[in-house]
């Protein structure tokens, strides 16, 4: 069927940051398919130079308001790696617990406030307040608990204070942890079950679109990791140590444009909840595994729209894991800790799974602990090329459905990746028509 289509979405809404979609098709010939990212660049890697190791986390967590805990963790891990600083088991567990809060915070915000309107066929969460008050209330409750969880463990909701090289500050006590566990168990877990049912009831609105994709995520030996482990790919068995991340996140210039994209074994790869699920699904805790099953989400899924579902599964996972961690912390007893930091020169890498995917920070310090160089590789950037590749396959396949439906599908696709464009310390794939 021949079709002339001209889609130009300037500043896509309900995503973090700025992104444009440009599609031009004339009489059935597709002339242009583009995902553009015109966000103002912020130059973090340049700005940290000359600053003390003590202040780097304070600076780099400001890369993104939504994943400030992940940036903080990647940052201090890099500093610890550079200086050979070790941490206690208590600190490690407190970090994992803080990180769980952020996954819940970010995913519930995305699924509940930003993606759900698409599934209900409305333009924002505002009309849902009137039409589906119970659903909105459930989402608000989940999100509020995740914020209280970050407040407690991180010292505040956004831009945590407690995440420091060599330790984890503890402005809370065992009773606070008990209270948190009770809230998660009694409120959030049931709320997540409700939310999962609601999303399941409208899941048929997620387009059926598969494109074989390379998925990349951290993979640890014994649990569904967001923090430990090596870099794994769905394409190969061999894993790569995080110190060698620059081998994985290869930047290259695409033949169609002058822009830089990231690739490993294929032209592009995807990171985020669906990538983690595809790599680590067999390590999900029981309730999370059951949730995945309800949606028919299985390892090997390559429908990018299912990232929304993988996020719901991970919400359940981090609550279950959070409860476990609190139990372990309580049975060991929460102790005040000394931090042992000896400043020395060196280069180090820190890697964690941010809600949107694998994240790397790399710093070099001189003998006074002053940062002399940095490289930060951010999940949204890693996904840009994959979004473009999805577009290129999706547009010819669905162009017959007409402009309106196609535009809706493309917007939903971008939102499925939950792109946090403000994160982009590097820009990727920008071309102005």
């Amino acid at each position: 069927m021949s079709q002339s289509i001209d889609i130009n979405v300037h500043h896509l809404t309900r995503v973090e940051g700025h992104g444009n979609i440009v599609i031009k098709a004339d009489d059935g010939t597709i002339e242009k398919v583009e995902w553009q990212v015109p966000e103002a660049p912020r130059f973090f890697e340049a700005m940290v130079r000359g600053r003390s190791w003590m202040d780097i986390q304070t600076i780099t967590c400001r890369i993104c308001g939504i994943c400030s805990i992940s940036h903080s963790l990647a940052s201090i891990k890099a500093t610890e790696d550079a200086m050979g600083i070790g941490v206690s088991e208590q600190t490690r567990k407190l970090r994992l617990l803080t990180h769980c809060a952020e996954q819940l915070q970010s995913h519930s915000l995305h699924v509940g406030y930003l993606a759900a309107p698409d599934l209900f066929g409305v333009k924002s969460v505002v009309p849902l307040v009137a039409s589906h008050p119970d659903v909105v209330k459930t989402v608000i409750r989940i999100h509020r608990v995740s914020n209280e969880w970050s407040d407690l463990l991180g010292g505040r909701t956004t831009h945590p204070i407690t995440i420091v090289p060599g330790g984890h500050l503890t402005p809370f006590n065992e009773n606070d942890l008990r209270g948190l566990k009770k809230t998660i168990e009694e409120t959030t877990v049931p709320d997540l079950k409700t939310l999962a049912e609601v999303i399941l009831s409208v899941a048929d609105k997620l387009p059926a679109f598969d494109r074989p994709t390379e998925y990349i995520a951290l993979s640890g030996p014994d649990y569904y990791t967001f923090y430990d482990g090596d870099i794994a790919s769905s394409d190969v068995d061999e894993k790569v140590s995080v110190r060698e991340f620059e081998k994985v996140a290869n930047e290259y210039v695409s033949p169609q444009s002058t822009a830089k994209w990231a690739r490993w074994h294929r032209e592009s790869y995807a990171v985020g909840a669906l990538a983690r699920f595809n790599i680590n699904a067999d390590r999900l805790l029981p309730l999370a595994a059951e949730t995945a099953k309800k949606f028919g989400l299985e390892k090997g899924c390559c429908n990018p729209y299912m990232n929304n579902v993988a996020q719901v599964v991970e919400c359940v996972q981090v609550c279950e894991h959070g409860i476990q961690l609190i139990d372990e912390l309580l049975s060991a007893g929460l102790k005040p800790e000394e931090r042992n930091v000896t400043v020395k020169a060196g280069t180090g890498v820190g890697c964690v799974e941010a809600p949107r995917g694998i994240l790397f920070h790399k710093y070099t310090y001189d003998e006074d602990g002053i940062c002399t160089g940095a490289n930060i590789c951010i999940p949204t950037n890693e996904n840009h090329a994959n979004i473009q590749k999805d577009f290129e396959v999706l547009v010819p396949q669905f162009i017959g459905r007409g402009k309106e439906e196609l535009q809706q599908m493309l917007e939903m696709l971008v939102r499925s990746y939950d792109p946090c464009i403000s994160c982009s310390a590097h820009y990727l794939d920008v071309k102005f028509a």
Binding site: R14, A40, A46, D55, C64, Y113, H159, Y427
Partner: protein
């Protein structure tokens, strides 16, 4: 009087301050009874160019953004700067300590010359247009934000603390960070956050900006008492104080 129409805009920033507005959760629904949101790209697909109050988040870092914020200023009766990026330039001002071409080359290598990577000196919003109200902090304090919006909607003048963080910190009975051999910017930083950082066991890094007339001599005395130098202070102040209009830097 009909409800004032509010539009939210973002420039170079982490969008963490907008996130605090989302984080108001139920309270946001209360606020919507006082004001009507008409444009908020991060949360709504709907948008309108007619508004009474513009809330501007982020720093101004490109010539085209100066034009955009001027247009916003022209349309709005009241302009609120949201968060440190907007009120004082925030963390983005660290960039101003470097040569801008060098900064671009460092991050983008051989692509640094591409036009969309253009960057200029970071400016706070009031270095480009008139700002009527400032919501301080990185991120903003949620209750201070609702307080200021309520005041504006009801035609009252909000009262923002002009005393140092130390006042709030002492009320919370914290042991002073200087006692731990650290440097804390509490003595010169504007209160209103209730000192979450010293209360969590960390120093204040000055995200709310300086009080109007920082008592630099008192701060110097404290530094001396604890055997710290002015250079130590400057190193800490660079984070949120780069290019801040204050004598404290001298």
């Amino acid at each position: 009087m009909s409800k004032p129409r509010v539009a939210i805009f973002d420039f170079a920033c982490c969008e963490g301050c907008q996130l605090q507005i989302v984080n108001l959760e139920e309270e946001l629904l209360d606020l919507i009874s006082l004001v009507q949101p008409v444009a908020w790209r991060e949360a709504m697909s709907e948008s309108s160019d007619e508004y009474d109050i513009a809330i501007v988040e982020g720093s101004i870092t490109r010539p085209e953004d100066e034009e955009r914020v001027k247009e916003i200023r022209d349309r709005a009766g009241i302009l609120i700067a949201l968060g440190a990026c907007a009120t004082i330039g925030g963390i983005n001002k660290l960039k101003n300590n470097f040569d801008l071409d060098e900064v671009k080359r460092y991050v983008y290598g051989k692509d640094a010359e591409m036009p969309h990577l253009n960057t200029a000196m970071t400016k706070a919003v009031d270095e480009v247009v008139k700002v009527d109200y400032k919501v301080h902090g990185c991120p903003i304090n949620r209750s201070e934000f609702t307080y200021i919006v309520r005041c504006i909607a009801l035609g009252k003048e909000p009262v923002i603390p002009n005393y140092p963080v130390c006042v709030e910190c002492k009320k919370r009975e914290n042991v002073c960070r200087f006692e731990y051999g650290e440097i804390c910017l509490g003595p010169i930083t504007r209160a209103g956050c209730n000192a979450p950082c010293p209360s969590a066991g960390f120093w204040c890094y000055g995200c709310r900006g300086c009080v109007d007339d920082p008592n630099v001599n008192a701060a110097k005395d404290i530094m001396e008492k604890y055997g710290k130098t002015v250079e130590d202070l400057m190193q800490k102040m660079a984070l949120f104080g780069s290019g801040q209009k204050t004598e404290a830097r001298e």
